[in-house]
């Protein structure tokens, strides 16, 4: 079955430092991969997706993700973290095509001033 794994429950980073939130996938065929962010008491906001093409995907709020087929990873990155980036981040994959999403367990990002 198609699935994603987020190995870190929490990531701590100082403001201004680069951040990485990890995601690995287990997908047969060509994967479609997504990143969403959830702020407290708010819904899930779409950040970016990988369908095909360039391995480096640029998304909202300065985030980007690198698709690595050999390592089956799709890590979320940002060159310089902001305190306002503190939130819960979910990696997701549709089991078949674009349909329902299966989410990872989420990674809480804490950016300290």
């Amino acid at each position: 079955a198609q699935s994603v794994a987020q190995p870190e429950d929490q990531v701590n980073v100082a403001e201004g430092n680069p951040l990485t939130v990890k995601c690995t996938y287990s997908v047969s065929g060509n994967p479609y991969l997504f990143w969403y962010v959830q702020y407290p008491n708010r819904g899930l906001q779409f950040l970016l997706k990988y369908i095909t093409g360039d391995n480096l995907v640029k998304g909202s709020y300065g985030f980007e993700a690198e698709f690595n087929k050999s390592q089956t990873s799709f890590h979320l990155k940002k060159p310089s973290a902001l305190v306002s980036d503190s939130a819960l981040y979910f990696c997701a994959v549709p089991p078949t095509g674009f349909q329902k999403l299966v989410f990872g367990t989420g990674t809480r990002l804490l950016v300290s001033p």
Partner: protein, 117 residues
């Protein structure tokens, strides 16, 4: 840009009561999804509709039912509520890309927080 609208935002019910959650998708989107997110959990898919027909079904209890109406809004009906139904319920919408048959990115609403006492 218009987003997915969900109502109500908060709902408090007693055990064994009934609740109805409403979702208004982004204009022109033809697919609606419902997800349930328990405390500290990742969202779990419940059910989806494409062009007013059920397109997929996940781990949705038999006590729950849903439908999509002619104006594409959707309602999730929950009966005989249990304490374990307390959760955040998200609706998402997407548009099937012409010529591909594939749904595009899902955009989520703010959620309805249901508390069952």
């Amino acid at each position: 840009a218009a987003g997915v609208i969900q109502s109500p935002r908060h709902l408090i019910k007693e055990k064994r009561e009934t609740a109805t959650l409403k979702c208004y998708p982004i204009p022109r989107h033809d697919t609606v999804y419902w997800y349930q997110q328990g405390p500290g959990q990742d969202p779990q898919f419940l059910i989806s509709f494409y062009e007013k027909m059920q397109s997929d079904k996940g781990s949705i209890p038999d006590r729950f039912s849903a439908q999509q109406f002619s104006d594409y809004h959707s309602e999730l009906n929950m009966s005989s509520l249990e304490l374990g139904d307390s959760a955040l319920y998200f609706c998402a919408s997407s548009l099937v890309e012409l010529g591909t048959g594939l749904e595009d990115t899902q955009y989520f609403g703010p959620g309805t927080r249901l508390t069952v006492l």
